[in-house]
């Protein structure tokens, strides 16, 4: 479970102060699947980086499983990143010249897991995302969708309490994007994995149970989705129509 209260993030750009986050409060319960949606520049990626302990807010408070992140030292935050959070990036961020298995093992090499267990767990994670056949391929031998699957396997491998993804389909075509969303839905459905992803795309957002709309660094509204779309089963045009109707 994660909760944030009055988060602000101010960047200094020249003489100007840019308020990327301007008092964000929200809560995500265990086992939820939530999307954070907003146009570019709305602060959604900044929020995601703070939730992933990759960045620190200018002010505000953040609890993860009841522990307050702002009170932790560097090493304790590293522990949170290793064990509580799995982060999936838009640009995949795999180590080049390193095969899929080693990339997935990366989070485990820092915590003393035995190499036998590392290989078992990494292989299992790659099987979950459907890459069991390609564990020794290097990133440059994999398609964008396959690279993102490796990244998801890496995020999963330490069984995090929460899986965070920043525009996970942003660099992929819609069909491949749908496959990635399908993996998130499967993880959520079968393993009760808490999943939060950021998107600027309403169609992608409607695959989750709840949508948090963000604009200008503030939460505009929260929307429950009674019947989330099933990835791959619905088409963008239908949803767009539905969405337009709703907006009207």
């Amino acid at each position: 479970m994660i909760e944030v209260k009055d988060l602000t993030k101010i960047y200094q750009v020249g003489d100007m102060e840019v308020h990327a986050l301007d008092g964000v409060s929200m809560k995500i319960d265990d086992g939820e699947m939530v999307s954070i949606m907003g146009p570019s520049g709305s602060g959604k990626s900044t929020l995601m980086a703070i939730l992933g302990c990759l960045d620190i807010p200018t002010s505000g408070r953040y609890w993860i499983d009841g522990d307050e992140v702002e009170k932790m030292n560097e090493d304790e935050q590293a522990f949170i990143r290793a064990h509580k959070i799995g982060f999936v990036f838009q640009q995949f961020n795999l180590l080049p010249r390193t095969d899929a298995l080693e990339n997935v093992m990366l989070p485990m090499i820092y915590d003393g897991t035995s190499s036998k267990e590392r290989i078992e767990r990494a292989t299992e994670a790659l099987e979950i995302v459907g890459l069991g056949e390609r564990i020794h391929h290097h990133p440059n031998q994999l398609s964008g969708g396959q690279q993102q699957r490796v990244a998801i396997a890496r995020a999963l491998v330490n069984q995090p309490s929460i899986l965070l993804a920043d525009e996970p389909t942003g660099n992929l075509d819609s069909k491949t994007g749908a496959e990635i969303i399908a993996i998130f839905q499967k993880l959520h459905r079968e393993r009760h994995q808490t999943v939060v992803y950021v998107t600027h795309d309403a169609f992608t957002a409607r695959h989750t149970e709840r949508i948090i709309h963000i604009a200008d660094g503030k939460v505009q509204r929260e929307e429950m989705v009674p019947h989330p779309l099933v990835a791959g089963a619905s088409h963008r045009s239908e949803d767009a129509a539905a969405n337009d109707a709703e907006e009207a």
Binding site: A78, F79, F87, Y110, G112
Partner: protein
């Protein structure tokens, strides 16, 4: 959570080494280029310093082998009015005779007269430095006769036209034919080769036994140099070599000789003596200074190589700093602490530095040994040279490897990941 943290921070050294080696393996090209930079620096330092030290040792040995307790009297170079042929500034044959008869503490004294003359054999003709000596010459110069004999008292007494050659000169003049008993002409006069020195094999450029042409002093005066060896009706000498009876009396002999020369040439104590009277120890000191300068010079060149190697390493690290910064960002994002990252980079860089250092030492030693084998110079590889080269390269490697990593590891993960 605190409890789990302790387990987490207990990542062991072996684990760290594995992480570092894995990272090195996955960047083979970059790792090799970095090692190459260190190899070049270390090899240059080892090779140049070893050669410099070898040269120093060689010169020192050579001077020592010239004969112990040797005192050399020679005419000081004089420039300006008066010239070198004035009465007081020429070393005379009579100076030799008086030193020989009146100075105590002397084992032997040898007067020498030398000059450049044309030497011809049936095949070759060239100018050489011809030296007229007496039979005692081998008492003051430790050359060894390889074939034949040295100049005898009888040769001196009867102005014999005989010559003793250094091995190099003999080779040059007779084209490798056995020189003993062969004839050659010096300044048009025919001489018979009666002896050849053993090859000393040195190449420091100092006068060695290999390039001498020795004839009886009397013959030199009467048949070769004639009036050029005369000054105001008196025979002059180029230098006088004295072998003191022991090293304890060298200083006493020097001051006695200086006094005698002053009185012979009518100089007061305040006037500058136009001759140098110096011992081998003094010459050794001078030469040591020269060769130390040489070593320092080679060291400076080596230092430049080291800097070039260092810049090579720096370039490679700078080129890869973007990728490495992102890598560090990613490693932090999946849970690596700053300490673990720094340890990884430290081990990575140390591995490269050690590999480069060892290979550089091997390469540098091989270069130095090659010089020795080729007979150019006997290189001297010493432990302090190896340590100096190794550690300076290691420090350069460590600095350029660790510093960018340290900078990157301080960044927040998101900043490092977006680094461009």
């Amino acid at each position: 959570m605190k409890k789990k943290l302790n387990v987490f921070s207990g990542i062991n050294l072996v684990g760290n080494v594995r992480i570092a080696l894995r990272a090195l393996r996955s960047n083979m090209l970059r790792s090799s280029l970095t090692v190459l930079g260190i190899v070049i620096g270390v090899a240059a330092v080892v090779a140049l310093l070893s050669i410099g030290k070898g040269a120093t040792a060689n010169i020192t040995d050579r001077v020592a082998s010239m004969g112990s307790n040797l005192i050399t009297i020679s005419t000081q170079m004089r420039f300006g009015p008066g010239g070198s042929s004035s009465d007081s500034s020429s070393l005379l044959y009579t100076d030799y005779e008086q030193i020989s008869s009146s100075i105590s503490g002397i084992r032997s004294v040898v007067p020498i007269y030398s000059g450049q003359e044309q030497i011809s054999s049936s095949t070759r003709s060239s100018r050489y430095s011809i030296t007229g000596v007496t039979a005692d010459y081998l008492d003051v110069r430790s050359y060894t006769i390889g074939q034949g004999r040295f100049i005898s008292e009888e040769d001196i007494a009867s102005d014999k036209q005989v010559v003793v050659l250094g091995s190099q000169v003999a080779d040059d003049i007779f084209d490798g034919l056995s020189p003993l008993g062969r004839k050659l002409t010096i300044n048009g006069k025919e001489f018979t080769v009666v002896g050849v020195f053993e090859e000393s094999g040195s190449s420091t450029g100092m006068s060695s036994g290999d390039d001498v042409v020795l004839i009886p002093l009397s013959t030199a005066y009467d048949k070769i140099f004639g009036t050029t060896a005369m000054s105001n009706g008196q025979r002059t000498v180029s230098s006088i070599l004295i072998s003191a009876s022991s090293s304890d009396v060298v200083d006493q002999v020097i001051s006695d000789v200086e006094l005698l020369l002053r009185s012979n040439h009518k100089l007061t104590l305040t006037e500058t003596l136009p001759f140098s009277v110096s011992s081998q120890a003094q010459a050794l000191e001078t030469l040591s200074t020269v060769s130390s300068t040489l070593t320092a010079f080679l060291g400076a060149i080596a230092a430049i190589s080291l800097i070039v190697g260092g810049i090579g390493i720096m370039n490679i690290e700078l080129v890869s700093v973007t990728e490495r910064t992102r890598e560090i960002g990613l490693r932090k994002a999946v849970g690596a602490t700053q300490r673990v990252i720094l340890t990884q980079f430290l081990i990575e860089t140390m591995t490269l530095a050690v590999m480069g250092g060892v290979l550089g030492i091997l390469l540098g030693s091989a270069i130095a040994e090659t010089f020795t084998l080729l007979g150019v110079i006997t290189a001297k590889i010493t432990a302090d040279t190896l340590l100096l080269a190794f550690f300076s390269a290691a420090v350069i490697g460590l600095f350029f490897g660790i510093y960018p990593a340290y900078q990157a590891s301080k960044l927040r993960p998101i900043v490092a990941l977006r680094y461009e």
